[in-house]
Every structure is written in C-alpha cells, then in structure tokens.
C-alpha cells in the first residue's frame, strides 16, 4: 500500500479533470447510444458530450440544406432541444446518428415548408451575391503558419461553388447527397432517416451527382 502511495504524483492545480460517469467509464469513451440513455436518466454531462460530438455535423448538414448560417444555428439548437424533449422516450433500436439526423431532417423539412409559405421579398444579399459572413475568407487563415493561403483560397472557392451547386438540386436529391457525401452516412441509414427505400436513396445520390457535375466542372484542375 505504501508503495502504491509513493507512486502517486500530486495533481497540479491546472490539470484537466476527466468527466467520469457514475459507473466509472469516462463519458468520452461511451457510445452515442449509451450517452443518450444516460441523458434520458437525467445525466446532463452525457448531453454535453453528445452536443460536443455532433453539433458540428448537425450544423453543417443543416447549413448545406438551408444555406444560411444564422438559420442553420437556430435549427441546430432546435435539433438538440428535441433530443432533450424526447430523452425519456429514447430506445436504442437504431444507431444514434440515424435518430439524430431523422430529427434534423424533420426540422429542415419544416423550415423548407416555412420558407415556401413566406413571401419572397427583395433581399440585398441576393442582389449583391452571397452573405459575406458565410463565405470562406482565406485571409482569416493567413496568420496561421501551417495554412496554405492559396489552398485555402481554392478551398473557399470550391466550398462556394459546391454550395451554389447544391442549391440548384431538388431538395430530396440534395438531402440524400449531403447525408451520404458530407455526413458519411450509409445508404441504409439514409433510407431510414428519409423513410424511403434504399434504392430510392441510391438513385437520388446518383442524380444529385449528375446535377452537380456542370457546376463543378471548372474545378477539375484543382482535384
């Protein structure tokens, strides 16, 4: 015992503490499904971990769907609030990401419906082009020693072109393509999320790729 004690190094005040669940397993090492179940039982740290893991993915998925950063952040918040609302009823019958993106997809569909009902007004951002803050600014990356500004510029240009191209796709094709290519979700999972057969998802992804091709033609040299 004394030997064990002698090996103990006193923890400095600045050391970061790991968040550990009551059963001793760190939350960062638990699966999404376990975290969601723990959250359903009132563990708020589990929810924080879920937000940490998935907020960027959910935000990017929604952003590719609605093309507005502010709206995307609002909707991403709604997605996580829906997780809180349904935490008590959650059953791990499918992958957590399927569950999460089903919620996100429903919220996006509602937003589309809202946008269609909303009267189209004259918009300065439409007149001048895209919203400035949504654009990728390579100068932001110029201070970073590791960043290649030219590459960042190309990347920004490609991002913009991809977003523009996605905007030209029908909604259902865009959704399937974004889930497959940006969120890296399997065709089977996408079929569950969108509640359509797997063949339909495959067909939508293929059509989406065909639809994107003319807009991305000029970037062939970059890739």
């Amino acid at each position: 015992m004394a030997e064990v004690r002698s090996n103990v190094v006193p923890m400095p005040n600045t050391a970061r503490l790991r968040v550990v669940s009551p059963d001793g397993l760190p939350l960062t090492e638990r699966s999404n499904e376990e975290l969601m179940l723990a959250h359903g039982q009132g563990n708020e740290e589990a929810f924080v971990e879920l937000v940490r893991r998935h907020q960027k993915g959910v935000l990017n998925y929604i952003y590719r769907m609605v093309h507005n950063r502010h709206v995307a952040e609002e909707l991403a918040q709604e997605v996580f609030v829906a997780l809180v609302k349904n935490a008590g009823r959650y059953q791990p019958t499918a992958k957590f990401t399927t569950y999460l993106y089903t919620i996100a997809s429903n919220i996006v569909s509602k937003e589309w419906a809202r946008q269609k009902r909303r009267p189209k007004l004259f918009s300065l951002t439409t007149w001048f082009g895209k919203e400035e803050e949504d654009e990728f600014d390579p100068l932001e990356h110029s201070g970073d020693e590791n960043a290649d500004v030219v590459e960042a510029f190309e990347r920004g240009e490609i991002s913009e072109a991809v977003n523009t191209a996605l905007n030209h796709l029908p909604e259902h094709q865009r959704e399937a393509f974004v889930l497959r290519r940006f969120q890296d979700i399997s065709y089977e999972e996408i079929a569950e999320i969108l509640d359509v057969p797997v063949g339909t998802v495959k067909s939508r992804v293929v059509r989406a790729e065909r639809g994107l091709r003319p807009y991305l033609e000029r970037f062939r040299e970059y890739v």
Partner: protein, 225 residues
Amino acid sequence: MGLDQKLRRHPTRYQLVAYTETMVDRNAPVSAVLAAHVAACPMCAAEVKSIRASLECAARAALLEPSSDLTAQILLKAKSEREETRVRRRPSSFGVAFRMIAFTSAMAAVAVVIFGAAIGQPISMKPLETALQQVSTVVPSADVIQKAAAEVKALGAAMRTATSKPQSLQELEQRRAVSAMDADIAAAQAALQRNPGCVRATHIVNANIQRQAETLRHLYIERKL
C-alpha cells in the same frame, strides 16, 4: 446486379458512383470485376473520372465551424426545456393524488353542510373553508364548488328558520334518504382515509353529494313555493 458478379454489359450509373466512392473514400472495398471493366472500357473510365471530380470537389468543400457561443446557446435552451418539462410533469404524478384527496375532502365538507342544513343543526364552516382553500389551489372548478356551497348554506339557513317537523310523508322520506346518503358518504370517507385517492370512494362521495343537493332543492321548493 451485385458488384462482384461478372459484368455482361456496362455497369449502371449507381454501380459507377459506388465504385468511385470507394476510390475517393479509400476505405471501402473495391470491386475487382468493376475495376477490370472500367480499365478496359474508355466510356466507363470517362464517366468514373467525371464522377470522381464531382465527389472530390464535394469532399474538399470546407466545413462550417460552429460559432463560439453555439454550444452555450444549445445548453441554455436545453436547460430551459428541462425546466419546462419538469413543470409540465409535476401535476401529472404527485398532483393527481393530491387533487383527488383535496376534491374529495371538499365534497365531504359540502355534504356535511347540506346534511346539517337539512336536519337543522348548526354547522361549523371551518372544515369547508379549509377544504375549499385546498381545492382553490389545485382544482380549476373550485369557484363552482364554492358557489354551490354558498347556495346550500343559504338554503340551509332558510330551512332552519322553518319548523323542523316534516310537513308531509314525502318530505319525511326525502329526509330519510338524505340520512342514508350521509351514511354512505361517511363510509366512503372512511375508505378514503384507509386508501387516499381511491377513485371508487371518490365517485361514491361525489354521487351522494349530488343526490343530496338535488333532494334538498326539492324540499326547499316544496316548502317555500
């Protein structure tokens, strides 16, 4: 057609996309049959090249970074949602039992007033007021009960001024019926003390009080009008 079956014709567009995905992602198994076909077929090779350019473009698109306060906003909204959920759930668990007991005791107090008024005995209003105070905090129809109780109190006072002797055989029968109902109410109250929130006992109390009220109304009408 599966990806590993021998190709007798050009692969479908989906097969080519799936094949190209394996090249772009570099983590999925590549179909050797399809690869052999693409290598030998210039048309399919050109198609794969185009698909690959699109997919790699998409893969190179920058990801949007969440704003610095997004996590805080989500956690804040989640917290307020949890609070709202707690408030919504509270009356459904503990509140139902409490509401039932409060409602039953209020009804019992009303019955005591009615019965006491009918037989002409002075009634203490304290238990009724206490019960109604309880009810007013949880039961939305407390005002209705209070109005009915006030009406019964006025009727009882009016009845007490008249002679306590029954004026007809029908009145005598009605008084006996009220007494019998009072015995039922007392039995149901005893059951409620043993088993608080018992639905059946609550129904018995409620039904008997309603019948008592109706009987007393008849008595009053017959005497006064």
